[in-house]
Symmetry: C2
Subunit: 569 residues, 2 copies
C-alpha cells in the first residue's frame, strides 16, 4: 500500500480499510465537535465527512472520536518494565504516543542504553519518540556508567525517532554557559530542546531561555509556571507518581495561553500506571476541575505534537496517522477503543492482542562490584557526624548533625535514634569506590534494603542495621544482575530482579507491580514505616537536589556543591 | 559575539546592546499585555523584566512592543522589484519576515531563478525564506523557461532558508496522485508543504489534504475556509492587490480556531505596498472589524512562525531574534520603530538607512525571440472565432464565440466590437512558437501593449489593433530584455524595463511605481478603459484558471483542459 492507494481511498474510488460512522469528531484544530464519518486507509486518516465505504465499518452511534493521547515527557524506566510492557500499560489508557528521555538507562549504558530503547520501541504498537539524553552523568561528584558528550549524541540527529535533546537538567550549567552544555545545545539548535529548571527564576531563567531551551516540566506553582510561559517555554504540566503538579497548576490555564501548555507524566510507578492511568488520568482530573474538555484534549495531544513538530500526529485529519480514540463521555474520559495507525490495539481498558514474545536484546552485565569494596566499616574519626535527614513526601533532604554511635572504634547504625548506615557502591566499572554515611527516616529495626535504582548514576544503594545484612543484600543484587532486595543477616527476604541495566524487568507489568508490593511489605516487616521505602532510597543519591546526598564519592553537600567529610572536626 | 556573551547579558553580568524600557509587551505566547523591559544583545532578545542595563537605552514610555510581522505567503515578483527593494517597501510597515514562493522567476530561470532570490535575500534586512517552487511549468500546454522535477529541487532540502515546498497549484495532480507531484511531496515529506486549491471541496479536497498538504491561501468564502480548516489545513487569509479575501473571511476567525490561521498577501503591486502596506494593513482592517488585537497580531506573526517551524521568530522572548515593533496604538496598527535582529531598520514609516548599492547578479538574457515568429497574420479558416472575454475584476474569463472580422483573407482586430488581436510569443528558448487569438474587453482604439509578465510561463504577451504596432512593441521588449511597453505604429509611447528575468526592475520601488502609472496612462491614451490593463493582460495566459486562455501553444479551453482551434468549424 502506498500514498497512491490512500489518495484513491480519499477520493472514494476504492473502499477504505475502515470507516468509522456516526462519530462526533473532536476537532482539536478548529476547536469544534461535530458529527462526521472518518475514513481510514493504510494506517492513515484519509477522509472526513459522509459517504465513505469501508472494507470494515463501525457504527459509533454518536460516540466521540479524539486524537490518541500524547505524553510530552516520560521516563519509561520509572515503570520498571521494558518499552513493550510500558506500551501495554499505557495504550489501554488511550496514550498512543510518548516522548521519552532514556536518561536512566543512558546513565548506566550510555549510547547502548539509548539504542536499546530505540530498538525496543521499533515496530511496537506505541509510538515512542526518544530524546537524546543531555546530562549523563548529572555531575562530576558521582560515577555513572557512561559519559555522553555532544560528539556521542551527534549520530542521533539523523534518527527519525529522535526529535531533539532531552531535559537539560544541568540548568545552572546551561545558564552559566558551561562549554559541554553549549556544545550539545549547538548541535541540536534546529531541533526540540527540552528544559528542566526547578524553581529557576529571574535573570538566570532568562539566560536559560536565551540558550534556546523550549519547554519546562518542573513547575510546581502557578507563579513559577507563568513566569516561564511568558519567557516562551512551553509548559509541560506534570502528574507523576510523586510529583503531582496538575491540580496546583490548573489556574494557570486560560483559553488564551493553553496552546503553549502540554501534559506529561515524567515518572509513573507501575501501580499508578495500571490503576490511575496516564495522560487520560490528567484529562479526567482537569475536566472535573472545570477545564473545557476540548482544551484538555488539546493539551493532551495536539499541542504536544505541534511542540515537537510531529506533523502526522495529534489530530484526526486526512494525512495524519489514524491514532484515535473512541470516547463515550468527554467529562469522564475513558477510551473505549484505541486505534493506532488504524489498528484496534486496545478496547475497554485491555489490550486487543496478547502480549507479544519479548524481543531479546543482549546487553552487558551492569552490576560489576569489586568484592573488597563491600566493606562497610566506618572507623570513628570524631564524635559528630553529618546525617541525611529524609523529609516527608519530598526528594530533597535535611542536612543534620548528630552524635555518632561508636562501637569498638567504629561508627555503626543506631536503631533507637533511627540513624542507619547508608552505602553507595559504584557498580558500573568495578572501581571499588564506595560512599559511606548515615541516614535518618527509614526506620529499619533489622536487616537491610538495597537496590540498583539510584538516580541518576544508578549505583548500588544499601541502607541497613548491620554490615552482614548489607553485604548479603549487595551480593544478592550482584547475583541478580540488578534489582531490589531486602535481607536479614544472610537471608534474602524478598527480591525483584531488574536485569536490564539494573533498572528494568522483562516480566509483565502486572507481575512487576505485585513483586514491588512484596518488596515494600518486606521492608516494612524489617521495621520501615515508609509507604514506599525503595522509591525514597532511589532519590537519596541524587546530588542535584538539596541538601545532603550520598554518591560513591561520599557525602555531597548540594548547597556547597562539593563532597564533604562524614565526620565534623 | 556568541551565545556565551548572550547568556552573560541575559544574566545581567554585562550590559546588553539595547535595553527597551517601559514597554507594554504584547506576549503572543501567553496572550497577555503587560509592562516589561526588553533586553537585546547580539541580534537576540536575551531578557524580559526589570533591571537590565543597556549600552543603549530607549524609553518607550508605555508604547506597545510586538513581534515583527510575518507574511506567510508572498510572490516578491509581484512587486516588480528585487528582494532588497521589496524589503525597503515592507520593512517600514513592520514586516520583518516573509515566506516567498519564487514561482515566477523559477518559471523563467528554473533553479537559477530560485538561487537568484536566495542570493538577493542573503545578508539583507528582511528575513526572506524561500519555498521550493513545486509547479514549474504549470501545465503541459505552455512553454516555460524551465521544468523543475523533484531531483532538481532536492539540493534545496539542505538550505537553511528553504522551509519546504511552495504552493502545490497543480491541485488536481496532487489529489489524483500524479507521479511527478508525488515525487516532490515525498521528497519534502518532513517539511512544510504549502497548498493552493481554489474552490476544491469534498472528497477531492480530502485527497489533497491526505497527500500531506498543510496550508491553503486561496479561500474566498467562510464556508470554503471552514471546510479546509477542519481538514487540518492552516488557513492563510490573503489580502493581495486584486484578491481581497480578508473582510469576507473575518467571520471564520474564532478564539478557538485562530491559532490555525495566518495572514498573507500573495501578490501586491508596488502602489498598494507603498500606500496601503502589507500585513500591517491586514491588522488594521481586522482590528477595525472587531478582531481582538492580540489575536490579530498572532495571525500576523506567531502563528506563521509556528506553522513554518521557525523557532527563533514570531515572538518577543529570550532566545529568539530581536525582530520587534514599537507600536503606539494597537487599534490603529502602525510600527513607529521596526527592529530586525536588534537593529533599528525603519522608523516613522521610512527606512532608517539609505538604499544600499544593488547587488548585481548576472543572469542570462531571458527574452529570446526568433525574428520570424513575429508574424501576427491569421489567415481566415472560417467565419466564427473563439474570443477570450475579460470579466470585470476577475482573472477568469468568458469563452465567447464571435464573427471574425476578415480583411484580405485574414482575421484582424475590430475596434468597433472591441475584439483585439492577442499574441503569446514564446520568449525563453527562441523556439518560434506563437499562440494567436482574439480578446474582448481591453478597449484599445489604436496601437498595442505588450509585456513579459504573463503568468505563469511569462512568455511575451501582446494585445494590439494592428500588426505593426504589435511587432514594434514585441521588438522593443526584446531590446529592453523584458518589461512592459505601449506602442503606436513604430513609435514606443512608454516602457518600463524589467531586465531581471523579464519580471523585475532594479530601480527603486518608488520609481517603478511611477513608471508603472505612466504605462497605465499610455494604455489608457491608446483607448483602454481598464484601470490596470497590464495587470489584467498578465493573467490572460494563465491556463490553470478558466475558461479560455492563450499560451504559446494556442487557445486553451481550461474546462476541457486542452488546446482548441481559434476557428470554429
Amino acid at each position: 500500500m502506498s500514498i497512491v492507494d490512500r489518495l484513491a481511498a480519499a477520493r472514494g474510488e476504492l473502499p477504505c480499510d475502515l470507516a468509522l460512522r456516526n462519530a462526533r469528531l473532536v476537532n482539536v484544530i478548529s476547536g469544534e465537535i461535530y458529527p462526521s464519518d472518518i475514513a481510514v486507509h493504510d494506517r492513515h486518516v484519509v477522509g472526513l465527512g459522509d459517504g465513505y465505504e469501508g472494507a470494515r465499518e463501525v457504527d459509533l452511534a454518536g460516540k466521540f472520536v479524539t486524537p490518541g493521547l500524547i505524553d510530552a515527557h516520560v521516563h519509561i524506566e520509572s515503570s520498571l518494565v521494558t518499552p513493550p510492557e510500558f506500551a501495554r500499560a499505557v495504550l489501554p489508557h488511550g496514550v498512543t504516543t510518548v516522548i521519552t528521555d532514556p536518561h536512566e538507562i543512558a546513565n548506566v549504558l550510555g549510547m547502548e542504553g539509548i539504542h536499546y530503547m530505540l530498538e525496543q520501541a521499533k515496530g511496537g504498537q506505541l509510538n515512542i519518540f526518544v530524546m537524546a539524553s543531555s546530562c549523563v552523568p548529572a555531575t562530576h561528584m558521582e560515577t555513572a556508567g557512561a559519559q555522553l558528550e555532544a560528539s556521542d549524541l551527534a549520530p542521533l540527529l539523523s534518527h527519525a525517532w529522535v526529535p531533539g535533546l532531552a531535559e537539560l537538567m544541568n540548568y545552572p550549567g546551561v545558564a552559566l554557559g558551561d562549554e559541554g552544555m553549549l556544545d550539545k545545545l549547538t548541535l541540536f539548535k534546529d531541533r526540540v530542546l527540552d528544559g528542566h529548571a526547578p524553581a529557576m527564576t529571574g535573570k538566570l531563567l532568562n539566560a536559560y531561555a536565551a540558550a534556546g531551551v523550549q519547554s519546562e516540566h518542573e513547575c510546581t506553582t502557578v507563579e513559577e509556571a507563568r513566569e516561564k510561559l511568558r519567557l516562551g517555554l512551553t509548559i509541560f504540566i506534570r502528574e507523576g507518581s510523586t510529583t503531582r503538579n496538575l491540580l496546583p497548576l490548573l489556574p494557570l490555564i486560560t483559553a488564551e495561553n493553553h496552546s503553549a501548555i502540554c501534559f506529561c507524566t515524567d515518572d509513573r510507578a507501575p501501580a499508578d500506571l495500571i490503576d490511575e492511568g496516564s495522560i487520560d488520568f490528567m484529562l479526567r482530573q482537569a475536566v472535573a476541575a472545570g477545564i473545557d474538555p476540548v482544551m484538555a484534549i488539546r493539551m493532551g495531544s495536539y499541542n504536544t505534537a505541534r511542540h515537537f513538530g510531529l506533523r502526522k500526529y495529534g489530530a484526526v485529519t486526512p494525512g495524519r496517522y489514524a491514532d484515535l480514540l473512541v470516547v463515550p463521555d468527554l467529562y469522564d474520559f475513558h477510551a473505549q477503543q484505541v486505534y493506532r495507525g488504524g489498528e484496534l490495539v486496545a478496547e475497554d481498558g485491555r489490550m486487543a492482542s496478547n502480549r507479544p514474545p519479548a524481543r531479546k536484546i543482549d546487553l552487558p552485565s551492569t552490576v560489576n562490584i569489586r568484592g573488597d569494596s563491600l566493606d562497610f566499616t566506618i572507623p570513628a574519626r570524631g564524635e559528630k557526624i553529618r546525617v541525611i535527614g529524609k523529609v516527608l513526601d519530598q526528594v530533597y533532604t535535611q542536612h543534620l548533625v548528630e552524635r555518632a554511635r561508636i562501637v569498638a572504634g567504629c561508627a555503626v547504625s543506631d536503631t533507637e535514634r533511627d540513624i542507619l548506615k547508608f552505602a553507595m557502591i559504584e557498580r558500573h566499572h568495578a572501581s571499588g569506590k564506595i560512599g559511606l554515611g548515615f541516614i535518618k527516616g527509614f526506620g529499619l529495626q533489622q536487616g537491610a534494603i538495597a537496590g540498583t535504582v539510584a538516580h541518576d548514576h544508578h549505583n548500588l544503594a544499601v541502607i541497613g542495621v548491620d554490615d552482614s545484612s548489607m553485604r548479603a543484600a549487595a551480593l544478592a543484587l550482584e547475583k541478580l544482575g540488578g534489582g531490589l532486595v531486602a535481607a536479614e543477616g544472610e537471608r534474602i527476604l524478598a527480591s525483584l530482579p531488574l536485569p536490564v541495566a539494573g533498572l528494568l524487568s522483562e516480566a509483565p507489568i502486572e507481575q512487576v507491580r505485585a513483586d514491588y508490593a512484596t518488596m515494600t511489605r518486606a521492608a516494612q516487616l524489617l521495621g520501615s514505616p515508609l509507604p514506599d521505602p525503595f522509591m525514597v532510597m532511589s532519590f537519596m543519591g541524587l546530588e542535584v537536589i538539596p541538601r545532603l546526598k550520598l554518591t560513591d564519592h561520599g557525602l555531597v553537600d548540594v548547597e556547597r556543591f562539593e563532597v564533604v567529610d562524614l565526620f565534623l572536626k
